[in-house]
């Protein structure tokens, strides 16, 4: 086998210019694919992290039917204390969960005494919320680090539109599920940066204030946001939690709770899927480049060496051995191109990381692109190139192995 590789390498060196050109083509293909995977993957992961770590959490649990009506923030679909205990028990029995935060979501009126507008609010336990969506704190543009009881975080656009500043006193008025209206004065403790996606323009207040405004006799919860220890195990934990809650039925005999990953809650998931589809098509283009270039080179190699093939066949070389000689040649050429492309790709990724390219996404500006390549991505691209090169070499190699020695020896 070592001799086969040595012969293949020498034959490639025999046509230096052609070998270099083909290897360069393969290398450029590998370079583009790796840089695209690194950049698009980084973009995707960054946005997913923004969405999950500053708003949604990784997984959410609601009472059945809540998500379908989430635009209305229906108070009638809140979980009561018993139901919340069941959810907490399921969370505690499911491995891989780092933190969770119960939320009371409601819509209300926001009044500065001079002007009034509507607002969507999340009543949260500040400690639990911080552990579940740690990046929420980084969205506070003005004001303190976090809010206390009697304080309110309001979205940037609302603050700008209503002319509200940190420290101002405002009134939140809301209707509870029985139809009675209540209000409470709160101090604006911070202004939140708006974010793309559901909940990106919501305000935050302490859960006790929410309970007071909504005059709940016992605390209720609209949703439970969950943070995982390892985001890579998202679907495992989702399945575990779904299974743990699958026995909880309502009076009608249907499921009491519904569990969603961030994918089912954020429209960005479709963008993420589009990025995956684009990556797939970029890989297809790489396959086409490798297939055409390697096949072309190997066809030329066979054509130029017909007499040599005739000679080795005449002296007794078996057809399968001739086949493997040309396949190994295509393999070596692809390996060479893939190696150059991988090194170049890693260099470009390193340069992009050091240059710190910034971009805007929705309301978020100045996001720094930090392209990252995983070993599996590099291995997968190299494997694609090598496998396609071997496939591309098959036809010319098969042709060489099937040549009649007498005809090959007569070839001029």
């Amino acid at each position: 086998m070592a001799r086969l590789f040595r012969i293949a390498v020498r034959n490639l060196r025999r046509y230096k210019r052609r070998t270099l050109l083909t290897a360069s083509l393969v290398a450029i293909g590998v370079l583009f694919v790796l840089v695209f995977i690194a950049a698009s993957g980084s973009f995707k992961n960054m946005i997913i992290a923004q969405i999950t770590d500053s708003m949604l959490g990784h997984i959410q649990v609601h009472k059945k039917g809540y998500v379908a009506s989430i635009e209305n923030l229906p108070l009638t679909l809140n979980m009561n204390q018993d139901q919340m205990k069941k959810v907490e028990k399921a969370i505690q029995g499911t491995p891989g969960i780092e933190a969770y935060s119960p939320r009371v979501k409601f819509g209300g009126m926001f009044s500065t005494f001079a002007e009034t507008t509507n607002i969507r609010l999340n009543g949260v336990d500040p400690d639990k919320e911080m552990k579940t969506v740690p990046l929420l704190q980084s969205r506070i543009l003005q004001g303190g680090k976090w809010m206390q009881k009697g304080e309110l975080l309001i979205p940037q656009l609302l603050a700008r539109g209503m002319g509200v500043k940190v420290g101002d006193t405002v009134v939140i008025i809301a209707t509870n599920k029985d139809g009675s209206v209540n209000g409470k004065q709160l101090r604006v403790s911070g202004i939140l940066e708006s974010a793309t996606g559901p909940g990106g323009r919501d305000g935050y207040l302490h859960i006790d204030d929410a309970i007071e405004i909504l005059r709940m006799e016992e605390p209720e919860v609209s949703e439970v946001a969950i943070r995982l220890k390892d985001f890579g195990r998202l679907h495992d934990v989702y399945k575990g939690l779904t299974a743990a809650l699958s026995n909880e039925m309502n009076k009608q005999g249907t499921l009491l709770f519904e569990v969603h990953t961030w994918e089912g809650l954020s429209p960005f998931f479709n963008v993420a899927r589009m990025i995956d589809v684009m990556t797939f098509f970029i890989k297809l283009m790489l396959i086409a480049i490798v297939l055409v270039s390697i096949m072309n080179v190997m066809i030329m190699a066979v054509y130029e060496r017909i007499r040599e093939i005739g000679t080795i066949a005449a002296i007794g070389t078996q057809p399968h051995r001739i086949l493997s000689m040309f396949i190994v040649e295509g393999f070596c050429l692809a390996l060479f191109g893939a190696a150059i492309g991988t090194v170049a790709g890693l260099l470009v990724v390193l340069i992009l990381r050091s240059v710190k390219v910034t971009f805007d996404f929705g309301m978020q500006t100045g996001l720094v692109l930090m392209p990252t390549l995983h070993v599996m991505d590099v291995v997968a691209v190299a494997l694609i190139v090598i496998v396609v090169a071997v496939l591309g070499s098959l036809q010319p190699a098969f042709k060489a192995s099937r040549m009649e020695p007498i005809k090959a020896l007569r070839h001029v």
Partner: protein, 234 residues
């Protein structure tokens, strides 16, 4: 027992729409360890006959036994195996593999065809390199040696597998007369040393006399047989 037995062999070709009868009922026998030449003008059927004996082609009609094997019964893979085990080839254009050194060219059939272990390969290649006087050039590539040296390497490559039969189609056609004579002498020496049968074709009258047995071919027919020492048939 004869090494090559041909009985009434015919070979027809189709060139475009024209049928060409290259061999027309040849019968002969060649004994082991003999030095045989087929001579005749261009188109007389020398190369066709050598291709048949070398299992590179099959007769249209007749029986051809080589080393007790009916070559008509051999399939593609079996033919390759048979050639690798029993036959060595020397080509007019030397046909050395340009990316292999002299040593590697000689070693090639042992490694890629017979798949012998390294110590055995080393022993045989070293012996052949010495026998053909190419030891000093063993690390050179074919484009770094002369035509005569190339043909010596080709002789060594043909003999390294210890074949019963070596076929040489116009082995001296691309060599000057002095080198051609030296190559024929080398082949004779190898035949004596390794007891191998050499069959070569030529139309060079100067080297024809070196053959122990001479077959004359004309228009695909055997026109005569001469054995050194005056025996003549035909």
């Amino acid at each position: 027992m004869a090494l090559v037995v041909a009985q009434d062999i015919y070979k027809d070709y189709q060139v475009g729409e024209v049928a060409v009868q290259a061999l027309r009922g040849l019968s002969f026998e060649i004994e082991p360890a003999s030095f045989v030449s087929f001579v005749g003008p261009s188109g007389s059927g020398k190369t066709t006959l050598l291709n048949l004996i070398g299992c590179l082609d099959k007769p249209t009609k007749g029986t051809l036994m080589v080393a007790d094997t009916d070559i008509l019964s051999l399939g593609r893979k079996a033919s390759a195996t048979f050639r690798g085990e029993h036959i060595g080839f020397i080509f007019q254009d030397f046909n050395l593999i340009p990316v292999l050194t002299v040593y590697e060219n000689i070693e090639y059939p042992l490694l890629m065809v017979q798949e012998l272990p390294a110590p055995e390969r080393l022993k045989r290649v070293t012996t052949l390199l010495e026998a053909v006087g190419m030891t000093e050039q063993k690390d050179k590539y074919p484009d770094q040696i002369s035509g005569g040296q190339k043909q010596r390497v080709a002789v060594a490559r043909a003999l390294v597998t210890n074949p019963q039969l070596v076929l040489a189609d116009e082995p001296t056609a691309n060599l000057d007369s002095k080198t051609a004579y030296m190559v024929i002498e080398l082949m004779k020496k190898m035949k004596d040393e390794f007891k191998t049968t050499f069959i070569f074709s030529t139309h060079d009258q100067k080297i024809v006399g070196e053959a122990e047995i001479l077959y004359r071919l004309e228009d695909g027919l055997l026109a005569g047989r001469e054995a050194r020492g005056g025996q003549t048939n035909g």
